[in-house]
Amino acid sequence: MQLREERPTYDEFVVARLPHLLRFGRALTGSEHAAADLVQDALERTLLRWASISGDAEPYVRRAMINRHVSLWRKWRHEQPIGELADRGYDDHVADPDLWAALRQLAPRQRAVLALRYFEDLTEADTAAILGCSVGTVKSQAHNAMARLRSMLQEES
């Protein structure tokens, strides 16, 4: 008989995945303070639906974070500008502050693509599925985002 793997409780899930979710939120927002708000909002919603979420809850949380932070078209308009959210002095405490400063200059959608591709290591197809756009759009977003980063950081291609 095959034993089913026991699902963690909600609190166990949060404790285990919180550092990763916060780093994912940081990748989305460019700010640890904004990431904490984003993660808390997504986890509150997840808790309310915990019983109805089957399997791994992390994709649900990730999608909630992305939906909250990034609009496919215009929902960003109700988000606070990153400039207001970014912790003052934050750059003093992170590795590669120039990189983070450049990341914060990108559009939210571009940061989301980079977060999913380079932090979560998702394929272009999976990134497109999460963002609800085409693979071509993911490619162009990633290309443009990297080009902007390269320009701001004056890196050679």
């Binding site: 609190d11 949060v14 404790v15 919180l18 550092p19 916060l22 780093r23 940081r26 990748a27 640890e32 904490a36 993660v39 808390q40 909002d41 986890l43 509150e44 919603r45 808790l47 309310l48 909630a64 939906n67 909250r68 496919l72 078209w73 215009r74 929902k75 308009r77 109700h78 606070q80 500008p81 400039g83 207001e84 934050y90 405490h93 992170v94 590795a95 590669d96 990189l99 983070w100 990341l103 980079l114 977060a115 380079y118 932090f119 599925a129 999460i130 609800g132 756009c133 085409s134 693979v135 071509g136 759009t137 490619k139 162009s140 443009n144 990297m146 980063l149 950081l153 890196e155 291609s157």
Partner: protein, 373 residues
């Protein structure tokens, strides 16, 4: 993998500057309880309305599980200033300006310029819109609500589009119907509509539902933006209340986006490259060159009328018309941004809402702007 990709991965993987807050888990539970309480309070309040309705022999609410939420504004003193933390405006006509504030309350500007708090929502509301009759309206965010009495009472929609997961809503109006686009839990999109004036939502078959990214209305038609697989090309799909869908590719590929106005759709080509060609479609079957932007960056695009497009950015703001482009200054301060598409207007008057919750008003078709209040 190149150097920049390596550097990006290292940066994104780097440790947090601060350890996760020990109190976060507790705050999450508290926040979730607060959300539950808000919902329970709404149900309780709505039940009270039903009881009162039955007591007075009313049959309008009998058997209705989605009862109108209570009017709170009737006993609220009329403030004489602009409400704080405005996040959206709806301007159905020159006599009615509705404001939505970040505490999920809807306000109505009075004839003396003051504002009346009409209603507090039980959930988190991010957008509000009204039909031109100023009686029928919709609000959406963590749920979808409708009003049919000018914003005094609101009912939460709990079937049809009301079954959507959070954040998926996008509501817009054609002449006779309200349309709601939302993302399902499985990632696809659904399009619902109802005749204005009632809550009788029906589902509309949506082509390319897995690649649809947004919906607006323009010129009496529903306009859906879909991403063509592979090419990164966006396509406008449009239909009126009865016709089949027709498609129109955007005039350029890449990072370009479409901005529907009341009777037209604008597209900026090359806005991310410094300077942009502005295209317009008024029939949703072809594009025409509308104007040119010399902005090095564009932070917001606001259609003011079928012949006026406001671009915000640097080194200045720009009013684009078929007669030419004219630098303007809407008066944004520092890193202040405009909440795109949260404004509205009637006649020569136009409004914008900013990230500092200021309402900016122009009374001369967008040429000059000042702060309201």
């Amino acid at each position: 993998m190149n150097n920049l990709e390596d550097r990006l991965r290292r940066g994104l993987e780097s440790p947090l500057a601060a350890d996760p807050d020990d109190g976060l888990l507790g705050r999450i539970h508290t926040g979730a309880r607060r959300r539950r309480r808000r919902r329970a309070a709404a149900i309780t309040a709505a039940t009270a309305v039903v009881v009162a309705g039955v007591a007075f022999g009313s049959s309008a609410l009998k058997g209705d599980e989605h009862r109108p939420s209570p009017l709170v504004g009737s006993s609220t003193p009329t403030p004489t200033r602009v409400p704080a933390a405005v996040i959206d405006l709806a301007v159905p006509d020159a006599d009615h300006v509705f404001a939505l504030t970040s505490d999920s309350a809807v306000w109505l500007q009075q004839s003396d310029g003051g504002w009346q708090r009409l209603h507090d929502f039980s959930g988190s509301v991010e957008y509000v819109d009204f039909a031109p009759d100023a009686r029928n309206g919709w609000a959406w965010g963590s749920g979808l609500w409708s009003t049919h009495d000018g914003g005094k009472t609101w009912s939460e929609i709990t079937d049809g589009p009301g079954t959507a997961s959070d954040y998926g809503y996008r509501v817009d109006l054609t002449q006779d119907r309200a349309w709601s686009l939302h993302r399902t839990d499985r990632g696809g999109m659904q399009l619902w509509s109802t005749p204005i004036g009632v809550d009788a939502w029906s589902n509309t078959l949506l082509p390319y539902r897995s690649s649809v990214v947004d919906m607006e209305t323009s010129g009496g038609k529903v306009v859906v933006l879909a991403a063509s697989e592979g090419a990164g090309q966006l396509t406008l799909l449009s239909r009126n209340d009865v016709d089949d869908w027709t498609s129109l590719d955007l005039p350029c590929a890449g990072e370009n986006q479409a901005y529907p106005g009341n009777a037209e759709v604008f597209v900026l080509c090359g806005a991310d490259k410094g300077g942009a060609m502005v295209y317009r479609s008024v029939d949703l079957s072809s594009w025409e060159v509308f104007g040119h932007s010399d902005l090095t960056s564009v932070t917001a695009v606001v259609p003011l009328a079928d012949d006026r497009l406001l671009l915000l950015g640097s080194p200045h703001d720009l009013l684009v018309t078929p007669e030419g482009s004219e630098p303007v200054d809407v008066g944004l301060q520092g890193d202040e941004e405009v909440f795109q598409d949260t404004g509205g207007g009637a006649g020569d008057t136009a409004y914008l809402v900013t990230s500092r919750h200021r309402i900016l008003i122009s009374r001369d078709t967008g040429l000059t702007w000042s702060q309201l209040g």
